[in-house]
Amino acid sequence: MFRFGAILAGGLVLSACDGPLSALQPEGPAARGIGTLWWIMLVAGTAIFLAVAAVLVLAFVRPAWLRRFGGTRLILWGGLVVPLVVLAGLVTAAFALGERVLVVRQDEALRIEAMARRWSWHFRYPGGHETVDLLHLPAGRDVDIVLTSEDVIHGFWVPRLGGKLDAIPGHTNIIRLRADRPGTYGGVCAEYCGIGHAPMRFSVEAHEPEAFARAVGLPPDEAGGMAADGEGGR
């Protein structure tokens, strides 16, 4: 148990959490919300782990304490009441976050099509411009990525911006992402798709609005107009 803590502390000291693909270094609201949930769960999980370990150790060193508390009561509180309360809180928080992160409502978000094919990602922007393995995003704005696959199942994942969603042949899935500020973020294929799975990576470049318009071959004002009428997709 001490070793767990030591490794964990050591990891933190080395500022182990950052990296171009790290979900723990969020750059968008979805990833940040999930990151917060993770840190809460980590702290709560560690506390629960220590508590269970402490009770187990007590059973050996101070069994009289536990005996006085009573076996049935121990099972009732440790096995039922406490976990139920913790779980109820956790599930409620996760549902609330899920409504915010998972649910894509019809609104003004920009739509970009992402088509996966063994073993590359093809992005298509509102004006018809296409890029391969490079996704341009406008920073500070919701973007709906419309995922499809031409062959097998792939997984679209930009860890620093949000969770992942599968690109499944015959289905269309939409994931909403937002990059808070301009920058370059890594993306990977998360679902095993054959021998080219590991190198099937892409990068995401988030730009200021004008730079984004330039990058996807749109006049700056048109890019702004799309945001207003919400007609992004083709």
């Binding site: 779980l87 599930v91 549902f95 899920g98 409504e99």
Partner: protein, 109 residues
């Protein structure tokens, strides 16, 4: 005691399982036919989708509660009956916990 009393051990959770299948199936059917876009005025603007899911949930909750009530009457009959009774209570709790989302979560998104 008859072999049948063994089946009572699973009575409560069978109701839970049936509720699970019914809710998951009808949720998919409702989304397929766009019931989430049918708002019902008489039900205070609830969608048809949510209304039918709540109905399924409540029916199964009632069934689960009925199982608990019946088993409570029998719980002094011997070894298996109290087990069945406690399992049914656990199942009723599990139903509330697993399916309470029908009241407030997005149904088809």
């Amino acid at each position: 005691m008859r072999p049948r009393s063994l089946l009572l051990l699973g009575a409560g959770f069978t109701v839970w399982a049936v509720a699970f299948v019914a809710l998951y199936a009808m949720l998919s059917v409702g989304c397929r036919f766009g019931w989430h876009e049918v708002a019902l005025d008489m039900a205070g603007g609830l969608s048809l989708q949510r209304l039918q899911l709540i109905a399924i949930f409540l029916v199964h909750l009632a069934a689960g509660a009925a199982v608990v009530v019946v088993l409570r009457l029998w719980k002094d009959r011997g070894f298996l009956y109290p087990l069945a009774y406690f399992a049914a209570i656990a199942a009723l709790g599990a139903s509330v916990f697993s399916f309470a989302g029908v009241f407030f979560l997005s149904t088809c998104q």
